[in-house]
Amino acid sequence: MASGILGVALSGLNAAQAGIRTTQHNIANVNTPGYRRQEVGYAAQQPDLRTGMYYGSGVSVEAVRSLYSRFLDNEVALNTSQLARHQTYAGYAGQIDRLLGDAATGLSTALDGFFAATNEVANDPVGNAPRQALLSAAATLAHRVNTLDDRLRAQLDATNRELVDAVGQINVLAERIAASNADIARAEALSGRSANDLRDRRDQLIAELGQLVDVTRIEQDGDVSVFIGSGQPLVLGVVANALATTLDADGLRQLELNVGGTLVSIGSGLISGGRLGGLLAVREQVVLPAFHDLNRIAVAIGAEVNRVHRAGLQLDGATPGGDVFTGVVERTGATSGWIRLEFSASALPNRDYAVTYNGADYTVTRLMDGASVNVAAGAEVVLAGVAQGFRIQAGTPAPAVGETWNLNLQDYARTLRALLDDTRAIAAAAATPPTGPGDNRNALALAALQQQRMLDDGGSGYAAAYNRIVARTAALAAQADAGQSALGTLVTAATEARQSVSGVNLDEEAVNLIRFQQAYQASARAMQIAASLFDEVLGIVR
């Protein structure tokens, strides 16, 4: 019985120590991300049966548990992943929004300036100053298009780089999760107990992964497997599959997952969350459309301004006008006729084409892959079921059988230059008599392009088409901002809810500390009393 007394007191001391240690552990980890507070599970020990009575035999430490709610954890993970997506999206969209909308970088002011200059030439066709101003305005317009194109390309490059970067981080995390799976399996097999801190760390790794890409986690036999996209396995137990990127024909990085040596392509539509999801979405919805639309507007400017200008006569009253901007339609071989482009509402792919006239139809060949089609004048060019965004019409002089042209549409916004460098080369005069240097009819025709709706099947002019890009980008950027702030609130709420279960409260720990300290003191006291009991007995013998 006496050893029983000491034993009970000792179990109390041990239990209090376990409590103090766990409290200290909680306090120490108050700032550790992903840490879940732990508590000691106590249970009364198997009682002794003596003289027909059950005597309590002290306390035992059953388990050290971490406190969490899987539901709340999932809420946080889901919202955090979406928040990361919207933050990334909003970051890019905001930059492009400013770039396109700013008067100093946008196209609007340069377009207005160019057409104001054509008006001034029409007002004074022989004056050198307005002609010089028109040359400058053309150069400014070309330069502005180049700059916008360059900035949009920079954004595409940035998404490429960030994709590679994110994929690298994802792979590191996947490796660590797989390793964690192995560690936990080993630790738990050894003790038969839940390895709380290891599990916390693994969950934290998965949470970090969730900020990069939306994942599905499936827990089985203590292992956590992680899937991305439409169920492609990133981590299967202790095996991590490597995510990689590959460059497509447009120089954009696309995702591929190496599953046991087989590369599985993961379509950008399948990734919807995390930084990766944000990057792919903003590239698809904001950057690429702006990039393609800018090119389309640039092509329409180059094609129409050149066409009108070529129809006029230079200051000498005799030489026909040349190209104002880099040629969009370029005659090849001995071709003397011209064709004219019309633009439909479909997107204009960033590709070059060759055109041949056979007397009835035009054969349009895409240079990249040689795909070709015969179209009648004024019919939309469709290749492999995809509308190419333009139609062909006969120009002046009319095309002859066998004549060929190149359509330099690819990267036109980058290659666009103002070609005229002589004020006398501006063709302000019309070619139909009476004409002369003082004729301003062609300058009026150039100025009238400002009002003409040559884009979107005659639906919009240059300025309107450009304004639409700005408005669309602004709407998407605003939407991303709104999503970001809404998800920020959701993440805060979910995190607070989760922390209310799993988070460490220092005041609470202070109370626990006192509680365990007092329990310890009481057990020590009990031990002292048990010891004094022995002394009493020994005293009798002595």
């Binding site: 057409f115 009253g317 602004a474």
Partner: protein
Amino acid sequence: MIRIDSLTYFNAGMAGMRGNQEAIARLNQQIASGERLLAPKDDPIATGKVMDLSNRIAQRTQYAANQDRAEMALKYQNVVIQGMSAALQRARGLLTSIDPDHALHLREAHAVQLRGVFNQVLDLANTRDAAGNYLFGGFVSNPAAPPWANAGDGGLASGIPLVYDGAATQYDGTPLTPAPGGTREIEIDAGRRVQVSDHLDAVLRASAGAGATAPAGEDILQKLDAMVHNLPGAVTQADISALLVDIEQTVKRLERIEHRIAGALSEIADARATNQALLLQDRNALGDLRRVDQAAAIVELQSRQTVLEAAGRAYARTANLSLFNFL
């Protein structure tokens, strides 16, 4: 009762403070710039309107400039045309007071006066604008080649066709094809153009043949010149009468130009009134969309500052509360 962990407790005030700081920074920018929209995304719908309005304003401003330009050209031309009319009227006065039977010295005196009138009309026909271009040069505006050539010392030899100086060349030295005719237009509103120049070929010549070089002796200047030369010599009453008829017709043609100019000017005035009203309207609409409501912004700034200060104080007061301080 919800359990609050220490991290949440410490961070709770952060979001509010950060939000207010962000709002204050924004308001500061808005107040300083006077712009409500700091980026298109601040109000995508307004942005679309702002861009359309800005384009329209740029166009209307250009139309206003075009209108000024057209009006200037027309008014200048009007003065010249009126001067020409007046000179021709004086010639008529002189001619009606002449009689072929007058003594030689009288006829010579008239000839001298008529020479003055001739020079005046010729000068007016060769008037240059501020930029040095001939007002009635048609589409050929070469300062080296007056549209109405005056050979020699002011004495115009009869029989010389008064068309573009054939010596006019292109900048690369090749001779210029004479291109009489051609009148310039200026766009004063979308799709609305007014004629701002006239070609005197059709006015000073009896036959209004455009494009072709008229036969010698058909334009009024040559006829005046012939009269000046012949007056001291042999001039019949019939010659004088014929010239009077020609002058009469020329004055009528000049009047028609004056009327056309008056019409064009009133059309410009009309276009300008509309343009200015619309420009004002667009500018106001743009201002309403873009300009920040300063009073509202300042009031919001104040309230944000108060809240931020309160949040800061609340944080400072509560952050140091910990049970450990009392153990």
